[in-house]
Amino acid sequence: MTDALVQVSDVHKVYTRGAERVDVLKGLELEVRRGEFLALMGPSGSGKTTLLNLIGGLDKPTSGRVTVGGRDLTRASSRDLARWRAQHVGFIFQFYNLLPVLTAARNVELPLLLTGLSRAERRKHVATALELVGLTDRAGHYPMQLSGGQEQRVGIARAIVNDPTLLLCDEPTGDLDRQTAGEILDLIGELNRRYEKTVIMVTHDPLAAERAGRILHMDKGTLVEAQAA
Protein backbone atom coordinates (compact mmCIF):
# COMPACT_ATOMS: atom_id res chain seq x y z
CA MET A 1 0.00 0.00 0.00
CA THR A 2 1.43 3.36 -0.98
CA ASP A 3 1.02 6.75 0.71
CA ALA A 4 0.54 5.16 4.13
CA LEU A 5 0.29 7.69 6.96
CA VAL A 6 0.13 5.07 9.69
CA GLN A 7 2.10 1.84 9.66
CA VAL A 8 1.76 -0.70 12.44
CA SER A 9 4.19 -3.60 12.09
CA ASP A 10 4.13 -6.78 14.17
CA VAL A 11 2.94 -4.95 17.23
CA HIS A 12 2.51 -6.78 20.51
CA LYS A 13 1.15 -5.20 23.64
CA VAL A 14 1.26 -7.10 26.90
CA TYR A 15 -0.09 -5.92 30.23
CA THR A 16 0.85 -7.65 33.44
CA ARG A 17 -1.39 -7.42 36.44
CA GLY A 18 0.47 -9.06 39.28
CA ALA A 19 1.25 -12.57 38.07
CA GLU A 20 -1.32 -12.39 35.29
CA ARG A 21 -0.16 -11.66 31.74
CA VAL A 22 -2.66 -10.18 29.30
CA ASP A 23 -1.79 -10.17 25.59
CA VAL A 24 -3.85 -7.25 24.33
CA LEU A 25 -2.33 -7.01 20.84
CA LYS A 26 -0.75 -10.01 19.12
CA GLY A 27 1.51 -9.28 16.20
CA LEU A 28 -0.83 -6.72 14.68
CA GLU A 29 -0.19 -5.36 11.18
CA LEU A 30 -2.00 -2.30 9.82
CA GLU A 31 -1.58 0.48 7.31
CA VAL A 32 -3.78 3.55 7.07
CA ARG A 33 -3.57 5.76 4.03
CA ARG A 34 -3.29 9.51 4.21
CA GLY A 35 -6.80 11.00 4.04
CA GLU A 36 -8.48 7.67 4.82
CA PHE A 37 -11.47 7.27 7.16
CA LEU A 38 -11.03 3.98 8.98
CA ALA A 39 -13.44 2.43 11.49
CA LEU A 40 -12.20 -0.10 14.01
CA MET A 41 -14.88 -2.36 15.41
CA GLY A 42 -14.87 -5.23 17.79
CA PRO A 43 -16.03 -6.40 21.20
CA SER A 44 -14.86 -4.84 24.45
CA GLY A 45 -11.35 -5.95 25.32
CA SER A 46 -10.43 -6.71 21.73
CA GLY A 47 -7.63 -4.12 21.79
CA LYS A 48 -9.21 -1.32 19.73
CA THR A 49 -8.49 1.48 22.19
CA THR A 50 -5.02 0.09 22.92
CA LEU A 51 -4.25 0.22 19.20
CA LEU A 52 -5.60 3.76 19.01
CA ASN A 53 -3.41 4.76 21.98
CA LEU A 54 -0.34 3.33 20.28
CA ILE A 55 -1.08 5.16 17.02
CA GLY A 56 -1.63 8.36 19.01
CA GLY A 57 1.66 8.01 20.87
CA LEU A 58 -0.10 7.77 24.22
CA ASP A 59 1.42 4.38 24.92
CA LYS A 60 4.21 2.25 23.57
CA PRO A 61 4.05 -1.33 22.26
CA THR A 62 5.79 -4.14 24.07
CA SER A 63 7.37 -5.01 20.75
CA GLY A 64 6.96 -4.09 17.10
CA ARG A 65 6.89 -0.72 15.42
CA VAL A 66 4.38 2.10 15.01
CA THR A 67 5.20 4.74 12.41
CA VAL A 68 3.08 7.80 11.73
CA GLY A 69 3.99 10.17 8.92
CA GLY A 70 7.38 8.48 8.72
CA ARG A 71 8.10 9.02 12.42
CA ASP A 72 8.85 5.94 14.48
CA LEU A 73 6.83 6.48 17.65
CA THR A 74 8.35 3.51 19.43
CA ARG A 75 11.74 5.22 19.54
CA ALA A 76 10.57 8.68 20.56
CA SER A 77 10.94 10.00 24.11
CA SER A 78 7.90 10.92 26.19
CA ARG A 79 8.68 14.60 25.67
CA ASP A 80 9.07 14.24 21.90
CA LEU A 81 5.82 12.30 21.72
CA ALA A 82 4.00 15.04 23.61
CA ARG A 83 5.26 17.67 21.18
CA TRP A 84 4.43 15.46 18.22
CA ARG A 85 0.88 14.90 19.47
CA ALA A 86 0.42 18.64 19.95
CA GLN A 87 1.27 19.25 16.30
CA HIS A 88 -0.03 16.24 14.42
CA VAL A 89 -2.82 14.46 16.29
CA GLY A 90 -6.29 15.43 17.46
CA PHE A 91 -8.12 13.23 19.96
CA ILE A 92 -11.89 12.92 20.27
CA PHE A 93 -13.15 10.98 23.30
CA GLN A 94 -16.39 9.22 24.11
CA PHE A 95 -16.97 11.32 27.23
CA TYR A 96 -15.58 14.51 25.64
CA ASN A 97 -12.98 14.99 28.41
CA LEU A 98 -13.40 18.72 28.63
CA LEU A 99 -11.98 20.56 31.62
CA PRO A 100 -15.07 21.59 33.62
CA VAL A 101 -13.42 24.70 35.03
CA LEU A 102 -12.76 26.21 31.62
CA THR A 103 -15.18 27.71 29.14
CA ALA A 104 -15.64 26.14 25.72
CA ALA A 105 -13.24 28.65 24.20
CA ARG A 106 -10.61 28.05 26.90
CA ASN A 107 -10.93 24.29 26.41
CA VAL A 108 -10.38 24.68 22.68
CA GLU A 109 -7.43 26.98 23.35
CA LEU A 110 -5.57 24.39 25.48
CA PRO A 111 -3.44 22.83 22.70
CA LEU A 112 -2.58 26.32 21.44
CA LEU A 113 -1.02 27.23 24.78
CA LEU A 114 1.84 24.96 23.77
CA THR A 115 2.54 26.97 20.64
CA GLY A 116 4.25 30.31 20.27
CA LEU A 117 1.06 32.00 19.12
CA SER A 118 0.09 35.33 20.62
CA ARG A 119 -3.12 35.67 22.60
CA ALA A 120 -4.83 37.39 19.68
CA GLU A 121 -3.75 34.65 17.28
CA ARG A 122 -4.92 31.96 19.66
CA ARG A 123 -8.31 33.65 19.94
CA LYS A 124 -8.57 33.78 16.16
CA HIS A 125 -7.79 30.06 15.84
CA VAL A 126 -10.28 29.22 18.59
CA ALA A 127 -12.99 31.28 16.91
CA THR A 128 -12.35 29.50 13.61
CA ALA A 129 -12.51 26.05 15.22
CA LEU A 130 -15.70 26.87 17.11
CA GLU A 131 -17.27 28.27 13.96
CA LEU A 132 -16.40 25.11 12.10
CA VAL A 133 -18.26 23.00 14.66
CA GLY A 134 -21.13 25.49 14.80
CA LEU A 135 -20.64 26.66 18.37
CA THR A 136 -19.59 30.29 18.03
CA ASP A 137 -22.43 31.38 20.30
CA ARG A 138 -21.39 28.96 23.05
CA ALA A 139 -17.76 30.08 23.37
CA GLY A 140 -18.25 31.50 26.83
CA HIS A 141 -20.22 28.57 28.19
CA TYR A 142 -18.84 26.04 30.62
CA PRO A 143 -19.15 22.30 29.80
CA MET A 144 -21.92 21.84 32.38
CA GLN A 145 -23.95 24.48 30.54
CA LEU A 146 -23.76 22.53 27.27
CA SER A 147 -25.63 19.50 25.97
CA GLY A 148 -23.75 16.24 25.25
CA GLY A 149 -23.67 16.99 21.55
CA GLN A 150 -22.39 20.49 22.15
CA GLU A 151 -19.72 19.17 24.49
CA GLN A 152 -18.58 16.75 21.83
CA ARG A 153 -18.46 19.57 19.30
CA VAL A 154 -16.21 21.49 21.68
CA GLY A 155 -14.10 18.32 21.97
CA ILE A 156 -13.85 18.19 18.18
CA ALA A 157 -12.96 21.87 17.99
CA ARG A 158 -10.17 21.23 20.50
CA ALA A 159 -8.99 18.29 18.41
CA ILE A 160 -8.75 20.29 15.20
CA VAL A 161 -7.66 23.69 16.47
CA ASN A 162 -4.01 22.84 15.77
CA ASP A 163 -4.89 21.63 12.29
CA PRO A 164 -3.58 18.09 12.86
CA THR A 165 -3.03 15.49 10.15
CA LEU A 166 -4.58 12.65 12.08
CA LEU A 167 -7.84 12.49 14.04
CA LEU A 168 -8.21 9.64 16.52
CA CYS A 169 -11.77 9.13 17.73
CA ASP A 170 -12.54 6.74 20.56
CA GLU A 171 -16.29 5.98 20.54
CA PRO A 172 -17.12 9.60 19.66
CA THR A 173 -20.86 8.92 19.58
CA GLY A 174 -20.99 6.38 22.39
CA ASP A 175 -22.61 8.78 24.81
CA LEU A 176 -24.99 10.51 22.40
CA ASP A 177 -28.53 9.92 21.15
CA ARG A 178 -29.01 8.76 17.59
CA GLN A 179 -29.78 12.16 16.08
CA THR A 180 -26.90 13.94 17.80
CA ALA A 181 -24.60 11.03 16.97
CA GLY A 182 -25.56 11.48 13.33
CA GLU A 183 -24.65 15.18 13.46
CA ILE A 184 -21.29 14.43 15.07
CA LEU A 185 -20.55 11.77 12.47
CA ASP A 186 -21.49 14.24 9.73
CA LEU A 187 -18.97 16.65 11.21
CA ILE A 188 -16.22 14.04 11.41
CA GLY A 189 -17.02 12.95 7.84
CA GLU A 190 -16.74 16.55 6.67
CA LEU A 191 -13.38 16.93 8.39
CA ASN A 192 -12.24 13.85 6.50
CA ARG A 193 -13.61 14.80 3.11
CA ARG A 194 -13.34 18.56 3.05
CA TYR A 195 -10.27 19.09 5.18
CA GLU A 196 -8.56 15.80 4.26
CA LYS A 197 -8.00 14.71 7.82
CA THR A 198 -7.03 11.08 8.23
CA VAL A 199 -9.56 9.64 10.67
CA ILE A 200 -9.31 6.45 12.70
CA MET A 201 -12.47 5.84 14.69
CA VAL A 202 -13.09 3.15 17.27
CA THR A 203 -16.77 2.30 17.56
CA HIS A 204 -19.22 -0.38 18.59
CA ASP A 205 -21.91 1.14 16.46
CA PRO A 206 -22.31 -0.40 12.96
CA LEU A 207 -24.20 2.68 11.77
CA ALA A 208 -21.31 4.88 12.81
CA ALA A 209 -18.82 2.52 11.19
CA GLU A 210 -20.70 2.76 7.92
CA ARG A 211 -19.60 6.38 7.62
CA ALA A 212 -16.00 5.18 7.26
CA GLY A 213 -14.31 4.26 3.99
CA ARG A 214 -12.97 1.06 5.47
CA ILE A 215 -14.00 -1.03 8.44
CA LEU A 216 -11.70 -3.36 10.32
CA HIS A 217 -12.83 -5.82 12.95
CA MET A 218 -10.68 -6.77 15.86
CA ASP A 219 -10.95 -9.67 18.24
CA LYS A 220 -8.58 -10.82 20.95
CA GLY A 221 -5.79 -8.55 19.82
CA THR A 222 -5.81 -9.33 16.14
CA LEU A 223 -7.51 -8.03 13.03
CA VAL A 224 -9.94 -10.72 12.03
CA GLU A 225 -11.71 -9.34 9.03
CA ALA A 226 -11.58 -6.36 6.76
CA GLN A 227 -14.34 -4.94 4.67
CA ALA A 228 -14.98 -1.88 2.61
CA ALA A 229 -17.86 0.26 3.82
Partner: protein, 385 residues
Protein backbone atom coordinates in the same frame (compact mmCIF):
# COMPACT_ATOMS: atom_id res chain seq x y z
CA UNK B 1 1.40 34.07 32.22
CA UNK B 2 -0.73 32.28 29.64
CA UNK B 3 -1.22 29.43 32.11
CA UNK B 4 -2.41 31.74 34.87
CA UNK B 5 -6.14 31.47 34.02
CA UNK B 6 -5.80 27.68 34.07
CA UNK B 7 -4.06 27.75 37.47
CA UNK B 8 -6.62 30.16 38.85
CA UNK B 9 -9.59 28.16 37.55
CA UNK B 10 -8.19 24.98 39.03
CA UNK B 11 -7.73 26.64 42.39
CA UNK B 12 -11.28 27.96 42.28
CA UNK B 13 -12.65 24.51 41.45
CA UNK B 14 -13.47 23.92 45.13
CA UNK B 15 -13.98 27.42 46.39
CA UNK B 16 -14.68 26.57 50.01
CA UNK B 17 -11.70 24.25 50.36
CA UNK B 18 -9.38 26.71 48.66
CA UNK B 19 -10.73 29.58 50.75
CA UNK B 20 -10.13 27.75 54.02
CA UNK B 21 -6.65 26.70 52.96
CA UNK B 22 -5.96 30.26 51.83
CA UNK B 23 -7.15 31.62 55.18
CA UNK B 24 -5.08 29.06 57.12
CA UNK B 25 -1.95 30.09 55.28
CA UNK B 26 -2.74 33.81 55.53
CA UNK B 27 -3.34 33.50 59.29
CA UNK B 28 -0.09 31.56 59.66
CA UNK B 29 1.83 34.34 57.92
CA UNK B 30 0.00 36.96 59.98
CA UNK B 31 1.13 35.08 63.09
CA UNK B 32 4.62 34.77 61.66
CA UNK B 33 4.74 38.55 61.21
CA UNK B 34 3.59 39.11 64.79
CA UNK B 35 6.16 36.66 66.15
CA UNK B 36 8.87 38.41 64.17
CA UNK B 37 7.71 41.77 65.56
CA UNK B 38 7.85 40.36 69.12
CA UNK B 39 11.24 38.86 68.43
CA UNK B 40 12.44 42.18 67.08
CA UNK B 41 11.08 43.90 70.18
CA UNK B 42 13.09 41.61 72.42
CA UNK B 43 16.15 41.46 70.28
CA UNK B 44 16.50 44.91 68.80
CA UNK B 45 18.46 46.26 71.72
CA UNK B 46 20.85 43.39 71.38
CA UNK B 47 21.17 43.84 67.65
CA UNK B 48 21.78 47.54 67.90
CA UNK B 49 23.95 47.59 70.96
CA UNK B 50 27.40 48.20 69.66
CA UNK B 51 30.52 46.38 70.59
CA UNK B 52 31.98 49.86 70.71
CA UNK B 53 30.05 50.76 73.87
CA UNK B 54 30.69 49.28 77.29
CA UNK B 55 28.54 49.49 80.38
CA UNK B 56 30.05 49.62 83.83
CA UNK B 57 27.71 48.60 86.64
CA UNK B 58 28.02 47.59 90.28
CA UNK B 59 29.45 44.09 90.52
CA UNK B 60 26.70 42.95 92.91
CA UNK B 61 23.70 44.23 90.98
CA UNK B 62 22.80 46.76 88.38
CA UNK B 63 20.52 48.52 90.84
CA UNK B 64 23.37 49.23 93.28
CA UNK B 65 24.73 52.76 92.72
CA UNK B 66 28.31 53.55 91.84
CA UNK B 67 30.32 56.55 93.08
CA UNK B 68 30.28 59.55 90.76
CA UNK B 69 34.02 59.92 91.19
CA UNK B 70 34.58 56.74 89.14
CA UNK B 71 33.82 58.78 86.02
CA UNK B 72 37.19 60.49 85.94
CA UNK B 73 39.04 57.22 86.48
CA UNK B 74 37.09 55.46 83.76
CA UNK B 75 37.69 58.31 81.33
CA UNK B 76 41.42 58.16 81.95
CA UNK B 77 41.59 54.42 81.30
CA UNK B 78 43.72 53.75 78.20
CA UNK B 79 41.52 52.91 75.24
CA UNK B 80 38.49 54.81 76.55
CA UNK B 81 37.39 57.56 74.19
CA UNK B 82 34.52 58.90 76.24
CA UNK B 83 32.40 58.00 79.26
CA UNK B 84 29.20 59.31 80.75
CA UNK B 85 26.86 58.30 83.53
CA UNK B 86 23.16 57.41 83.74
CA UNK B 87 20.83 56.95 86.69
CA UNK B 88 17.53 55.13 86.67
CA UNK B 89 14.86 57.43 88.14
CA UNK B 90 11.84 55.15 87.97
CA UNK B 91 9.36 58.03 88.10
CA UNK B 92 5.66 57.67 87.41
CA UNK B 93 3.41 59.94 85.38
CA UNK B 94 -0.06 60.14 87.01
CA UNK B 95 -0.50 56.37 87.30
CA UNK B 96 1.98 53.49 87.77
CA UNK B 97 0.57 51.76 84.70
CA UNK B 98 1.85 54.68 82.58
CA UNK B 99 5.26 53.10 82.67
CA UNK B 100 8.15 54.45 80.61
CA UNK B 101 11.90 54.62 81.08
CA UNK B 102 13.14 57.86 82.68
CA UNK B 103 16.73 58.55 83.57
CA UNK B 104 18.94 61.28 84.98
CA UNK B 105 21.88 61.91 82.66
CA UNK B 106 24.56 64.34 81.70
CA UNK B 107 22.84 66.37 78.96
CA UNK B 108 25.81 66.52 76.63
CA UNK B 109 27.13 63.08 77.48
CA UNK B 110 23.93 61.26 76.57
CA UNK B 111 23.80 62.75 73.08
CA UNK B 112 27.46 62.17 72.48
CA UNK B 113 27.47 58.53 73.45
CA UNK B 114 24.12 57.76 71.78
CA UNK B 115 24.37 59.57 68.45
CA UNK B 116 21.39 57.51 67.26
CA UNK B 117 19.16 59.90 69.26
CA UNK B 118 18.62 62.65 66.71
CA UNK B 119 17.83 66.08 68.17
CA UNK B 120 17.28 69.35 66.30
CA UNK B 121 19.76 72.14 67.00
CA UNK B 122 17.22 74.36 68.78
CA UNK B 123 16.10 71.50 71.00
CA UNK B 124 19.70 70.59 71.67
CA UNK B 125 20.45 74.13 72.85
CA UNK B 126 17.38 74.28 75.09
CA UNK B 127 18.16 70.82 76.50
CA UNK B 128 21.70 71.84 77.40
CA UNK B 129 20.69 75.09 79.06
CA UNK B 130 17.47 74.21 80.90
CA UNK B 131 18.17 72.73 84.32
CA UNK B 132 14.66 71.30 84.70
CA UNK B 133 14.38 70.36 81.06
CA UNK B 134 13.41 66.96 79.78
CA UNK B 135 14.41 65.39 76.50
CA UNK B 136 11.76 62.92 75.43
CA UNK B 137 11.34 60.41 72.65
CA UNK B 138 8.95 61.08 69.79
CA UNK B 139 6.72 58.09 70.62
CA UNK B 140 6.52 59.07 74.27
CA UNK B 141 5.45 62.58 73.25
CA UNK B 142 2.79 61.12 70.97
CA UNK B 143 1.59 58.70 73.66
CA UNK B 144 0.78 61.42 76.19
CA UNK B 145 0.24 64.29 73.76
CA UNK B 146 3.23 66.18 75.13
CA UNK B 147 4.76 69.01 73.15
CA UNK B 148 7.60 71.45 73.55
CA UNK B 149 7.05 73.79 76.48
CA UNK B 150 4.71 71.45 78.35
CA UNK B 151 5.41 71.01 82.04
CA UNK B 152 5.05 67.43 83.15
CA UNK B 153 4.88 66.25 86.75
CA UNK B 154 6.71 63.02 87.48
CA UNK B 155 6.28 61.28 90.81
CA UNK B 156 9.49 59.66 92.09
CA UNK B 157 9.29 56.11 93.40
CA UNK B 158 12.49 55.72 95.39
CA UNK B 159 14.28 59.09 95.22
CA UNK B 160 12.98 61.44 97.91
CA UNK B 161 13.51 65.21 97.58
CA UNK B 162 15.11 66.84 100.58
CA UNK B 163 14.60 70.45 99.51
CA UNK B 164 11.33 70.92 101.35
CA UNK B 165 9.33 71.24 98.16
CA UNK B 166 6.60 68.81 97.03
CA UNK B 167 7.82 65.32 96.12
CA UNK B 168 6.81 65.67 92.50
CA UNK B 169 9.53 66.52 89.99
CA UNK B 170 8.27 68.94 87.38
CA UNK B 171 10.07 68.90 84.04
CA UNK B 172 9.71 71.16 81.06
CA UNK B 173 9.73 69.43 77.69
CA UNK B 174 12.60 71.17 75.93
CA UNK B 175 13.45 68.65 73.25
CA UNK B 176 12.04 65.72 71.37
CA UNK B 177 14.42 63.18 69.92
CA UNK B 178 13.79 60.72 67.13
CA UNK B 179 15.65 57.54 66.30
CA UNK B 180 18.14 57.54 63.46
CA UNK B 181 16.55 54.23 62.39
CA UNK B 182 13.16 52.65 63.14
CA UNK B 183 14.84 50.33 65.65
CA UNK B 184 15.70 53.10 68.09
CA UNK B 185 13.66 53.34 71.27
CA UNK B 186 11.69 56.60 71.17
CA UNK B 187 9.81 56.10 74.42
CA UNK B 188 12.37 57.35 76.97
CA UNK B 189 12.67 60.53 79.03
CA UNK B 190 15.99 62.02 80.04
CA UNK B 191 16.59 64.85 82.47
CA UNK B 192 19.58 66.57 84.05
CA UNK B 193 21.47 64.61 86.68
CA UNK B 194 22.36 67.87 88.38
CA UNK B 195 18.68 68.64 88.96
CA UNK B 196 18.28 65.25 90.63
CA UNK B 197 21.26 65.93 92.88
CA UNK B 198 19.94 69.36 93.80
CA UNK B 199 16.61 68.07 94.92
CA UNK B 200 17.68 64.85 96.62
CA UNK B 201 20.95 65.95 98.12
CA UNK B 202 22.42 62.70 96.96
CA UNK B 203 26.02 62.22 98.11
CA UNK B 204 27.10 61.66 94.53
CA UNK B 205 26.24 58.31 93.11
CA UNK B 206 25.11 57.24 89.68
CA UNK B 207 23.39 54.16 88.32
CA UNK B 208 25.94 53.06 85.74
CA UNK B 209 28.47 54.32 83.26
CA UNK B 210 28.32 54.14 79.50
CA UNK B 211 31.76 54.00 77.98
CA UNK B 212 32.88 54.42 74.38
CA UNK B 213 36.12 52.72 73.41
CA UNK B 214 38.57 53.54 70.64
CA UNK B 215 38.85 50.03 69.30
CA UNK B 216 35.98 47.51 69.59
CA UNK B 217 38.51 44.70 69.15
CA UNK B 218 40.01 45.69 72.51
CA UNK B 219 36.67 45.97 74.30
CA UNK B 220 37.25 43.00 76.61
CA UNK B 221 40.75 44.15 77.51
CA UNK B 222 39.52 47.68 78.32
CA UNK B 223 36.59 46.31 80.33
CA UNK B 224 39.02 44.31 82.47
CA UNK B 225 41.22 47.36 82.87
CA UNK B 226 38.27 49.40 84.16
CA UNK B 227 37.19 46.71 86.61
CA UNK B 228 40.75 46.22 87.88
CA UNK B 229 40.86 49.86 89.02
CA UNK B 230 37.95 49.32 91.38
CA UNK B 231 38.81 45.83 92.58
CA UNK B 232 38.69 45.38 96.36
CA UNK B 233 36.86 48.70 96.75
CA UNK B 234 33.47 49.02 98.50
CA UNK B 235 31.85 49.36 95.06
CA UNK B 236 33.48 46.89 92.72
CA UNK B 237 32.42 47.09 89.10
CA UNK B 238 31.49 44.76 86.31
CA UNK B 239 32.13 46.03 82.82
CA UNK B 240 31.04 44.39 79.59
CA UNK B 241 29.93 45.39 76.14
CA UNK B 242 26.46 46.85 75.86
CA UNK B 243 25.52 43.92 73.65
CA UNK B 244 26.56 41.40 76.31
CA UNK B 245 24.46 43.24 78.89
CA UNK B 246 21.43 43.30 76.64
CA UNK B 247 21.83 39.63 75.87
CA UNK B 248 22.14 38.74 79.54
CA UNK B 249 19.07 40.84 80.30
CA UNK B 250 17.08 39.12 77.56
CA UNK B 251 18.24 35.72 78.74
CA UNK B 252 16.67 36.37 82.12
CA UNK B 253 13.28 35.86 80.48
CA UNK B 254 14.45 32.89 78.46
CA UNK B 255 15.79 32.46 74.98
CA UNK B 256 12.98 34.40 73.37
CA UNK B 257 14.31 34.01 69.87
CA UNK B 258 14.46 30.23 70.13
CA UNK B 259 10.99 30.01 71.67
CA UNK B 260 9.45 32.18 68.95
CA UNK B 261 11.28 30.30 66.22
CA UNK B 262 9.99 27.01 67.62
CA UNK B 263 6.40 28.33 67.65
CA UNK B 264 6.74 29.57 64.06
CA UNK B 265 8.20 26.22 62.98
CA UNK B 266 5.27 24.30 64.47
CA UNK B 267 2.77 26.65 62.83
CA UNK B 268 4.41 26.22 59.44
CA UNK B 269 4.60 22.46 59.78
CA UNK B 270 0.86 22.28 60.45
CA UNK B 271 0.18 24.61 57.52
CA UNK B 272 2.40 22.49 55.30
CA UNK B 273 0.23 19.47 56.14
CA UNK B 274 -2.97 21.40 55.41
CA UNK B 275 -1.74 22.86 52.12
CA UNK B 276 -0.16 19.55 51.09
CA UNK B 277 -3.41 17.72 51.76
CA UNK B 278 -5.35 20.28 49.72
CA UNK B 279 -3.03 19.90 46.76
CA UNK B 280 -2.99 16.10 46.98
CA UNK B 281 -6.79 15.99 47.05
CA UNK B 282 -7.02 18.47 44.22
CA UNK B 283 -4.72 16.41 42.00
CA UNK B 284 -6.44 13.11 42.89
CA UNK B 285 -9.80 14.55 41.88
CA UNK B 286 -8.69 15.44 38.37
CA UNK B 287 -6.42 12.62 37.37
CA UNK B 288 -8.29 12.18 34.09
CA UNK B 289 -7.99 15.91 33.33
CA UNK B 290 -4.24 15.72 33.78
CA UNK B 291 -4.35 12.78 31.36
CA UNK B 292 -6.23 14.95 28.86
CA UNK B 293 -3.62 17.70 29.16
CA UNK B 294 -0.89 15.19 28.41
CA UNK B 295 -2.93 13.78 25.53
CA UNK B 296 -3.23 17.15 23.80
CA UNK B 297 0.51 17.66 24.08
CA UNK B 298 1.42 18.97 27.51
CA UNK B 299 4.73 17.37 28.48
CA UNK B 300 5.20 15.60 31.82
CA UNK B 301 7.31 18.52 33.02
CA UNK B 302 4.71 21.09 32.00
CA UNK B 303 2.01 19.21 33.88
CA UNK B 304 4.30 19.01 36.91
CA UNK B 305 4.98 22.74 36.66
CA UNK B 306 1.24 23.46 36.48
CA UNK B 307 0.52 21.52 39.67
CA UNK B 308 3.49 23.09 41.39
CA UNK B 309 2.40 26.49 40.08
CA UNK B 310 -1.01 26.06 41.68
CA UNK B 311 0.52 25.27 45.05
CA UNK B 312 2.95 28.18 44.79
CA UNK B 313 0.20 30.56 43.65
CA UNK B 314 -1.97 29.56 46.61
CA UNK B 315 0.82 29.74 49.20
CA UNK B 316 2.35 32.95 47.86
CA UNK B 317 -0.92 34.85 47.44
CA UNK B 318 -2.04 33.83 50.93
CA UNK B 319 1.41 34.62 52.31
CA UNK B 320 1.40 38.07 50.74
CA UNK B 321 -2.07 38.78 52.15
CA UNK B 322 -1.05 37.57 55.63
CA UNK B 323 2.13 39.63 55.61
CA UNK B 324 0.33 42.70 54.25
CA UNK B 325 -2.33 42.44 56.94
CA UNK B 326 0.21 42.07 59.73
CA UNK B 327 2.15 45.05 58.42
CA UNK B 328 -1.04 47.10 58.54
CA UNK B 329 -2.03 45.76 61.97
CA UNK B 330 1.32 46.05 63.71
CA UNK B 331 1.13 49.81 64.43
CA UNK B 332 -2.08 49.09 66.35
CA UNK B 333 -0.47 46.25 68.27
CA UNK B 334 2.58 48.44 68.88
CA UNK B 335 0.47 51.00 70.72
CA UNK B 336 -1.01 48.28 72.91
CA UNK B 337 2.35 46.83 73.92
CA UNK B 338 4.63 49.86 73.83
CA UNK B 339 4.94 49.88 77.61
CA UNK B 340 6.66 46.50 77.50
CA UNK B 341 8.08 46.50 73.98
CA UNK B 342 8.89 50.05 72.88
CA UNK B 343 10.19 48.72 69.56
CA UNK B 344 7.53 46.68 67.82
CA UNK B 345 7.49 46.38 64.05
CA UNK B 346 7.99 43.78 61.35
CA UNK B 347 11.45 44.34 59.91
CA UNK B 348 11.91 44.32 56.13
CA UNK B 349 14.12 41.27 56.32
CA UNK B 350 11.33 39.37 58.13
CA UNK B 351 8.94 40.29 55.31
CA UNK B 352 11.50 39.01 52.81
CA UNK B 353 11.94 35.86 54.90
CA UNK B 354 8.16 35.44 55.00
CA UNK B 355 7.93 35.70 51.22
CA UNK B 356 10.70 33.14 50.91
CA UNK B 357 8.87 30.85 53.32
CA UNK B 358 5.66 31.25 51.30
CA UNK B 359 7.48 30.16 48.17
CA UNK B 360 9.05 27.26 50.04
CA UNK B 361 5.67 26.28 51.48
CA UNK B 362 4.19 26.24 47.97
CA UNK B 363 7.01 24.12 46.60
CA UNK B 364 6.93 21.73 49.56
CA UNK B 365 3.14 21.32 49.60
CA UNK B 366 2.94 20.88 45.83
CA UNK B 367 6.09 18.82 45.46
CA UNK B 368 4.70 15.32 45.93
CA UNK B 369 1.41 15.88 44.02
CA UNK B 370 3.40 17.51 41.19
CA UNK B 371 5.79 14.59 41.05
CA UNK B 372 2.91 12.12 40.94
CA UNK B 373 1.22 14.17 38.20
CA UNK B 374 4.43 14.13 36.21
CA UNK B 375 4.71 10.34 36.52
CA UNK B 376 1.06 9.80 35.65
CA UNK B 377 0.55 7.42 32.72
CA UNK B 378 -1.84 8.90 30.15
CA UNK B 379 -3.61 5.61 29.54
CA UNK B 380 -4.15 5.01 33.25
CA UNK B 381 -5.27 8.62 33.77
CA UNK B 382 -7.82 8.50 30.96
CA UNK B 383 -9.36 5.35 32.44
CA UNK B 384 -10.17 7.20 35.66
CA UNK B 385 -13.28 9.09 34.98
Amino acid sequence: MKYLPLLWRNLMRRKIRTTFTFLSIAVAFFLFGLLMAIRTGFGVGIELAGQKRLLTVHKMSMIQPLPFRYLAQIQSTPGVRFATHMTWFGGVYQDPKNFFANMAVDPEGILRIYPEFVVDDDDRRRWASTRTGALIGRKLAARFGWKLGDRIPIQPTFFRPKDGKPDTFEFEVVGIYRGATPDIDETQLFFHYKYLMERTGDPGTVGWYAVEVDDPARADEIAHAIDRQFANSPAETKTATEKAFMQSFANQIGDTGAILTAIAAVVFFVILLIAGNTMAQSVRERTSELGVLKTVGFTDLTVMALVLGEAVLLACSAGVVGLALVTLAVPGFAKAVETFLPIFYVPGRSIALGLGLALLLGLASGGVPAYLAQRLSIVEALRKR
